[in-house]
Amino acid sequence: MPESRWTHARFATTAWTEVLAARGASTEQSARAIEELCRKYWKPAYAYLRRKGRSREEAADLVQDYFAAALEKGFFDGAERERGRFRTYMLATLNRFLYSHRPASRRARTTPIDMVPPDELNESARLARDIQGAASAEELYCREWARALVNAALVRLQEENRGTRRERYVQVFMAHIEPAAGGADGGPGAAASYSEIATRFNLSETDVTNYLHRGRRLYDEALRRELRNSVGSDREAEEELSELRRYLTG
């Protein structure tokens, strides 16, 4: 019967440029690779379009159209020749698409898949605020991209460690970074304190410190892996991280 941990599972991350560089890869496989990236990073594109002045419905339609076109017309096929940061590449192709796109109001899709499930295109208050307050569309795009990246890393962190003894570290870590539900002004509440976490998980505070260390280290690894999917090299990963960080704090 299957083991619960496959001992030599390499948690492989295929840089997206490698995927496309495999010349002759079937459309199906490229499509799946692109699909996955789009599923994770459609929000920044949407936010960008909104900041550019489109309404919610328009932005939603455009995002769908963009991804459909990206697949159909192979926007990313030329990527292997360049240094690969999917984030910058996507923005470039998105702009090009906007320039040449003539929207029709109700048009049958030629790809069978909606990149973004329609029910997910709800704009939260937080996002609406950020759209209003952003200095530029590019800046907003990058900030949303950072969020999406962290999201993906957190999801991966939980998936990878589910059912293992490391799950506890992950849970403590999640409890530590998540804000409590709702602060006074409708914004996020304060994060849980060590003693609150200790009580919640029935641990000593020293344990909480240790678990946090380990959870943090696990998160770092998950982030690295997630990041590696959207860039072409380790060096680019470093650069990407510092740029995204600057957008958040600068």
């Binding site: 492989a12 495999a22 969020r147 939980q158 982030l223 690295r224 704090t249």
Partner: protein
């Protein structure tokens, strides 16, 4: 209006949408880009005082540290926080491997300690001198390398002293089965006197270790590693070749552009343009250049197979001897020959070679083009297949796993690249057992054939042979193959442990399991093995409680393992936890309806519970699968008997006895069945046979029943003999069971005085049961009825008391009273006791009616009290309560 952020489809939470930007920024700062010496901690725990920073790399930081305990200066390597994935495991692996190597040019590892925050800490000797990278970048040539005009001449090996020391260290490491896999000038240190140290075994692995992740640094990393092939010594040969190239070419690399990352490196390799050393550095001796080029070949089949071959060729080049690296072009070869063998022969040689030369060059080009095409094609195939393979992994690792989906993806990966051993292995692991046991074996064999270092393939094949196909020889062969490849890997240890169980070496099996668990605490298999050691019937370490604990741990992680469920069920039954046992067995049979062991055990559990119909169904199915199993027949016979289907019961007992003539249990069951169904003579015969020799020779219960068989058949002589034997041989406190019927016999034969004397003597023993003693006193006339009933206070005791009062009445000749007592005995509803059946026989009702509906008291106590081995239920005999009738 506020709308809630949509949650992603997976069950994991993703709250990043609502996180504060500063928190987000913090989450995007996984590492300190460069460690400022001012930021260093002062200590690493009590023992180590931090002195300074020695270096930092992708995987770790190396600090200069003072060991306060041993009072010496050492180096300590820690994983970088947020550094490359798996840094902790890297470090532990590095420590283990480096500790195995002892060589003057390999930096010794002292210890693997723990930093205060739990990070591993690799303590090692401080490396002296400078790194070779620094030396090469500074443009120097390290001492000993021929430069300029000196390079023309056949140099002495001492001039390449640095490289040869390095190569010697690596050759030693290979002889110990360890590959370095990250050789580069930054990992080589050169001391002031030319001494050389190789460091940083962080990516090293054992030759046979399939589990280690593969990495490297692009210009030095062997091309086959990018294709996903398992590395061998030739990967290190490549790295050494590139280092040597740089040493001779003034620091330049073989590839045209400096590939800083894997993507570009891969492209450079695919385009196949490498600059031969001779082109770059014409002053280098051509044979030497050829050696270097051969070491740097992209196609590993054309490289030196072993480092020592490289060393030998290098020395040959330096000594002016011929090298294997290439056939020198005809003018040169002639020149060398002339140097050695004199001018006279030179012209002859030259002319002979001329003819074949041009053809040779053309053919070599063709081969090279074909190789290039083949390599590109192989790259492409492997890259393709990795996509479904990676997705399949994800599905496999999910909780619960999607095995069917994963299997389809792995099949796709195999179709894309049939040489991808891991994909075959992965597919085998998704196959449901036992339905696809043979297919799984095929897949595993294929994986092992493609990659012999994948010992897990052998391991799982061995398990399947052992558990599913019952082929211990084949299992042995698989486990032995594992050991041959790598005796120290934790899976090999487990395989050897399983082998020990096949050979009944239980302590050794546990010991090996302990080693494996220590090597890898996450190894679930260890629990399943231990569980088996504590469960097996013939195990010297049998312990149901510990077995259950081990299986609990195992099943928590692998809830669908049929064997484990079955074994835990079996042990739970032993411990009397019948309901839990049945749950496990139901589950096991739900997963595999034909798992015959579980049918057997569950059948017994159902009998205990009183579900005779269900038990019968189980044993019927078990016998359909295994028609010749005498134990199952015995059990089914018992069920038939309890259901009153006596003919069928008899048939089963006879078949069982025939199939297993060395086993006396079916005969015993048959004897008692005969007794109960009125075949008194046959019963007598069978009892005699059983009592004559073998397992039941001293069975007192059988002796007593022998007496009754004779008595009811009218054979007083035999009955008397049997009961006298019983009284003589039964332990004190149990003699009355034989004494009472004997008393009646003697009275009925007119030997009243003898009867009373015998009974009085037997009853006098204080150890006799009070209620029986009271009946005995009544028989002897010394107590009235009320007194006789005094000792009995519960249904079992009443059952016995009424019966023997009936015996007493029949001895007095009062048939009506006797019948009343016997009926009263029947009314207690206690079929577990032989008196219950005997009363019926006394009443002349033969054959006996089917079992009365089971009430809780009667049925419960009637269940098997002694521990039952799978395959044996004494359901056919109402067993005596252990404390009463030994």
């Amino acid at each position: 209006m506020e709308t809630t952020e949509p949650t992603p489809k997976s069950a994991s939470r993703a709250p990043a949408s609502s996180l504060d930007p500063l928190v987000l920024a913090g989450l995007l700062s996984p590492s300190v880009p460069s460690l400022n010496p001012a930021d260093l901690p002062k200590d690493l725990g009590e023992r180590f005082e931090v002195r300074g920073l020695l270096g930092q790399g992708g995987q770790g930081v190396v600090l200069a540290v003072r060991d306060r305990l041993l009072e010496r200066e050492v180096a300590a390597k820690l994983p970088r926080r947020g550094g490359a994935a798996g840094a902790d495991e890297h470090l532990a692996r590095e420590a283990k491997l480096a500790a195995v190597l002892e060589h003057p040019s390999i930096l010794p590892v002292y210890d693997l300690a723990e930093a205060p925050d739990g990070a591993p800490l690799l303590v090692m000797r401080r490396a002296p001198g400078r790194s070779l990278e620094d030396v090469l970048s500074a443009g120097e040539r390290p001492r000993g390398v021929p430069t300029g005009a000196g390079a023309q001449l056949a140099g002495r090996s001492a001039r390449l002293g640095v490289f040869l020391q390095l190569a010697g260290a690596i050759s030693y490491a290979h002889s110990r089965g360890v590959l370095h896999l990250d050789l580069k000038p930054a990992n080589v240190r050169v001391g002031d006197y030319g001494e050389v140290f190789v460091m940083d075994w962080g990516l090293a692995r054992r030759l046979t270790d399939a589990a280690a992740p593969v990495g490297g640094t692009p210009p030095y990393m062997a091309p086959e590693l990018l294709e996903g092939l398992a590395p061998d010594e030739r990967a290190d040969v490549y790295s050494l070749g590139v280092i040597l190239y740089r040493m001779l070419a003034g620091g330049a690399l073989p590839l045209e552009n400096d590939p800083a990352d894997f993507t570009l490196y891969r492209q450079a390799l695919a385009s196949g343009r490498a600059v031969g050393l001779a082109e770059r550095e014409p002053s280098v001796d051509p044979d030497l250049a050829a050696v270097v080029d051969k070491a740097c070949r992209f196609d590993r089949s054309r490289r030196y197979r072993k480092v020592r071959d490289l060393i030998a060729d290098l020395e040959a080049a330096l000594d002016g001897r011929a090298v294997t690296a290439r056939r020198a072009a005809w003018p040169e070869r002639a020149a060398k020959w002339v140097r050695r063998h004199g001018r006279a022969l030179a012209f002859v040689a030259v002319a002979a070679v001329l003819a074949g030369v041009s053809l040779a060059f053309w053919w070599r080009e063709q081969v090279r083009d074909a190789e290039l095409a083949a390599r590109t094609e192989a790259n492409r195939r492997r890259a393709l297949s990795r996509i479904p393979f990676d997705k399949g992994q994800e599905l496999f690792l999910r909780r619960p796993p999607d095995l069917d989906g994963a299997r389809k993806l792995f099949s796709q990966a195999i179709a894309d690249d049939p040489g991808f051993a891991d994909a075959w292995y992965a597919r085998a692991r998704t196959r449901p057992l036992p339905a696809q046991a043979l297919e799984a074996i095929d897949d595993l064999h294929k994986a092992a054939e493609l990659d012999p270092s994948l010992i897990m393939a052998r391991f799982h094949a061995g398990k399947i042979y052992m558990e599913r196909l019952k082929d211990t020889e084949a299992a042995r062969a698989e486990f032995a193959a594992m050991r041959r490849v790598d005796a120290e890997n934790e899976y090999s240890l487990l395989g050897e442990a399983w082998l020990c169980t096949l050979e009944n070496r239980w302590d050794k099996a546990l010991e090996l399991a302990g080693f494996a668990a220590r090597a890898n605490p996450e190894l679930d298999e260890v629990h399943s093995l231990r569980g088996y050691v504590f469960s097996a019937m013939h195990s010297t370490l049998r312990d149901p409680a510990r077995a259950v604990a081990e299986y609990d741990a195992y099943l928590a992680r692998c809830p669908d393992d049929v064997t484990a469920l079955n074994n835990r069920g079996f042990n739970l039954k032993q411990l009397g936890r019948a309901a839990e046992a049945e749950r496990d067995l139901d589950r096991a049979l739900g997963l595999d309806p034909n798992y015959v062991y579980a049918l057997d055990i569950r059948g017994s559990v159902r009998v205990d519970r009183g579900d005779l119909a269900g038990a019968l169904a189980d044993f019927n199915r078990a016998l359909a699968i295994n028609p010749g199993n005498s134990n199952y027949l015995l059990n089914r016979g018992g069920i038939y008997e309890r259901m009153g289907r006596l003919d069928e019961a008899g048939n089963d007992y006879r078949s069982a006895a025939r199939l297993a003539p060395e086993n006396a249990d079916p005969v015993r069951a048959l004897a008692i069945l005969e007794l109960r169904s009125g075949g008194l003579e046959e019963a007598g015969r069978l009892f005699d046979r059983l009592l004559a020799s073998g397992k039941f020779a001293g069975d007192n219960h059988l002796k007593r029943l022998r007496g009754y068989a004779a008595w009811f058949a009218g054979d007083r002589k035999t009955a008397e003999a049997a009961w006298r034997q019983g009284v003589r041989e039964r332990p004190p406190g149990a003699k009355l069971y034989s004494a009472l019927p004997l008393w009646r016999l003697l009275v009925a034969s007119g030997r009243a005085a003898e009867a009373s004397a015998m009974l009085a003597e037997a009853a006098a023993d204080k150890r006799e049961k009070p209620h029986l003693a009271a009946v005995a006193r009544h028989c002897l006339g010394g107590a009235d009825l009320a007194a006789a009933l005094e000792g009995a206070d519960s249904a079992p005791l009443f059952c016995e008391t009424f019966y023997y009062l009936g015996v007493a009445a029949s001895a007095r000749g009062d048939a009506a009273a006797a019948a009343g007592w016997f009926q009263a005995c029947r009314a207690t509803g206690f079929p577990a006791y032989s008196e219950y059946d005997l009363a019926a026989m006394e009443l002349g009702a033969l054959p006996l009616a089917p079992e009365a509906p089971v009430g809780t008291a009667a049925g419960g106590a009637g269940a098997a009290e002694k521990a039952v081995s799978p395959g044996q239920t004494p359901a056919s005999v109402p067993p005596p309560a252990p404390e009463k009738k030994p």
